[in-house]
């Protein structure tokens, strides 16, 4: 199968704003030598460095507005 994951390069989607999207599973070595992994079909890697769950994205890159917005809340 020419399109099997093992025979094609891993796809990474990069944008200037927002996380880098990498096809899972991934294993990431952090600067202190520890390793974290995720077997999600796609992982969002933080590039803004504001994430509180680094290296994973937690949407902390989003713009902030002073006024409360009238929208859905979880």
């Amino acid at each position: 199968m020419p399109d099997s994951p093992a025979e094609r390069p891993r796809r990474i989607v990069a944008r200037r704003e927002g996380p880098m999207l990498v096809e899972g599973p991934v294993e990431i070595v952090l600067e202190d030598g520890t390793t974290v992994s995720s077997d999600r079909f796609c992982v969002a890697l933080c590039t803004c460095r504001r994430s509180r769950i680094f290296p994973w994205c937690d949407t902390s890159h989003r713009r902030h507005s002073p006024a409360p917005r009238p929208a859905a809340d979880h």
């Binding site: 989607v13 927002g18 996380p19 999207l21 995720s38 077997d39 999600r40 079909f41 796609c42 992982v43 969002a44 509180r52 769950i53 994973w56 994205c57 937690d58 949407t59 989003r62 713009r63 902030h64 507005s65 002073p66 006024a67 409360p68 917005r69 009238p70 929208a71 859905a72 809340d73 979880h74």
Partner: protein, 333 residues
Amino acid sequence: MEPAVKRPYAEPELPPSRGAISAALIEYLRGTGPLPDDAVLAGAEPLGDDLQLALYLCYELHYRGFAGVDGAREWDPELLRVRAALEKPFLAALRAGATRHTRADEALDELLVEPVDGEGVSHFLQDKGELWQLREYAAQRSVYHLKEADPHAWVLPRLWGRAKAGMAAIEFDEWGAGRAERVHAQLFADLMTDLGLDPSYGRYLDASGAEALAVVNLMSLFGLHREMRGALVGHFAAVETTSSPGSRRLASAMRRTEAGPAAEHFYAEHVEADAVHEQVVRREVVAGLLEEEPHLDADIAFGVDATGWVEDRLADRLLEAWRSGRSSLRTAV
């Protein structure tokens, strides 16, 4: 032979009625009375308890059904006619009250800006929520979270290409990526157990107000009608886009109140998962559907707007009760 022990997710009991429509409907489902007549249906308040419960009962026949109700009622033409008569005023109220955008990107872009001083339910619970309020929140969310991602499955056969592949990938993740213990509905059941709630399917239907039922009825309405596939996708995109920051606040509320590891994990998992889902739903599902069917742009925007609107109505009910120290529930849990 029926097993001796109660299955954890057995068909739930029919709930008590909340008015003339739901009362007649429940009798009909039990096989002991006629359907509500047109005069009764015409008098319904679109967002009130009676209509919302009646609609919920009609829809639930497509999910898990009710104990003692004939499975064939799911496709009973007379019952479907009544359902359509209930859907019409509900949808009209949604369109009139919620519509603010005609373009999907404009509707979604608004959700990508985080307010500094947010005043939603998750902000309240993070800052000062007490355990009893977290329990009330979880009880009312359980009418959806115990079937998390199920209403959205109906859209899959109606999509094609990128939209379908993206939607299926997210749903696979929602359903545990092949592992039963990771199914999000199971993670929510574990959260309920941590909070001392009963995780049986449908257990808190009677405790949940019309506003909480409307949130689920909206998903079922959009999911069950192919012609509303744009709205379903818009709804799903709105949920995935707002979920990650909201879940971070709720995880923090669970941690602060020492609700338990499973309670905290449910929301922590959604911080990470929904940051991914948001990207996939916007870049693949919404963009893919617009590529295939550009005429659905306004429908997608409506799905986004309608989701925010029903969530705001629920938030108003919860916060109004809690700020005055009252329970937000119809019946105590």
